[in-house]
Symmetry: C2
Subunit: 225 residues, 2 copies
DNA sequence: TAGATTGTTAATCGATTAACAATC
DNA sequence: TAGATTGTTAATCGATTAACAATC
């Protein structure tokens, strides 16, 4: 039933595509018309075979000895990511992070258009942030279904994140981009993608601690100091 | 030479630890003293065996039939992540995202202490953000080495991110937490952890597009409408 | 004691990397 | 043509999941 025949693109590949796209556009801006996997791999510190496999998901074929035609490749990656169509999004949590995201011009490049923000704070409700209205969360479900907004962005404190997600689901939102440090529950038909800052920081702090420990070890066995 | 004998903890495990920690603290706050892997796995939607393996990296052993002693486990996870010591960090790019991060109280829980921000904008330099000074980037390398700040946070526009990273490295920063959508080059001895919003959005938009396509398919084969 | 849960070893799965024929 | 680069198949690697003995 759930037609998976299209066979899903691996998540690691999807996560690398924006990086490729950035680089491809940069090369294109330099006036070049083709690019090879080796060139891309060198620039991004990846394995050339991996780049080739990743790019294969776009359906674009390269020319041996030459490489890939840049305009076609850029277009294909953008299409695959859906970044050449605009998707409307609603944001819950008009705090400093929410405000920062609403002010980020770069999202236009990713086809993301935040049309309104929601909050519970009476001080914020009724105001505008970067030209978009701040409404009360009570209006969220209603407006989401009225606007057919497909994406919801959560920038609330962790404690309010689940409630925000529930309201979004009630409003028919199909994809949630969560920035709150919380493990949310959503129905199967809703896509949840979380930007887990603590997870990222965990990798950094643990590796950093290990590196600093190694420094000390080195100093000791050096006999210096 | 580069003593890897300690055998590094897998990145996926590291990324899950903060999630465990959050849940463990929650259970502890409910007055419980022990917790089983099944309980954790159920709550977080994970495999119990995976939870057991992940927790094994802390060195804490559980009691069959009972589970893990919460205070010991919480303590061990925090120690492993290094979150019970404070690390000083410098932030470059005092824009809205930088400001948001500086105002985020939750970082204290992760042992992260942002002591100063840096920018090139004369309007910002000299001001204070959430009680911390905003200095000119020219002072970055100098201050970093003087304060022995180990972590640098990049919240500049993509075009300035590499320069910020270079200054941090020059100042002796050993770990960089990058929020700019850019592929940075740093020396081997510097840990780079990037929060790639475009990568995260790529996963969300591609999956969402696939789900919406499926909806249409379903409607068509339904014959409804 | 009986049985739930741990810790660990083995099997599976999927992604990365290597090898190599095809081709421009 | 010669040889660089693609596309693809096979080998490797690492993480997840399953199986199961040990234990409280």
């Amino acid at each position: 039933m759930t037609a998976k025949e299209v066979q899903a693109i691996p998540v690691p590949t999807l996560r690398r595509l924006p990086s490729y796209l950035r680089f491809l556009k940069k090369v294109q801006a330099q006036g070049r018309d083709v690019v090879s996997c080796t060139h891309i791999a060198d620039a991004l510190g990846l394995d050339p075979t991996q780049v080739r496999k990743d790019l294969a998901v776009t359906g674009i074929v390269g020319k041996p000895r030459v490489g890939y035609h840049l305009p076609a490749l850029v277009e294909a990656v953008e299409t695959l990511l859906g970044w050449n169509n605009t998707t409307d999004a609603l944001l819950v949590g008009a705090g400093s992070l929410g405000t920062a995201l609403m002010g980020y011009e770069g999202f236009r490049e990713y086809g993301l258009n935040i049309v309104a923000a929601f909050d519970v704070d009476p001080e914020k409700v009724g105001a505008e942030i970067h030209g978009r209205p701040v409404l009360h969360v009570d209006q969220l479900a209603n407006l989401a279904s009225r606007l057919h907004a497909h994406i919801g962005i959560i920038t609330t404190p962790a404690a309010e994140a689940q409630r925000a997600a529930d309201l979004m689901v009630a409003g028919g939102v199909r994809g949630i981009w969560n920035f709150a440090p919380a493990d949310l529950e959503v129905p199967d038909e809703v896509i949840l993608e979380s930007v887990q800052l603590p997870a990222s920081l965990a990798v950094l702090s643990t590796r950093l601690a290990a590196a600093l420990r190694e420094d000390e070890q080195g100093e000791k066995s050096d006999g210096s100091q």
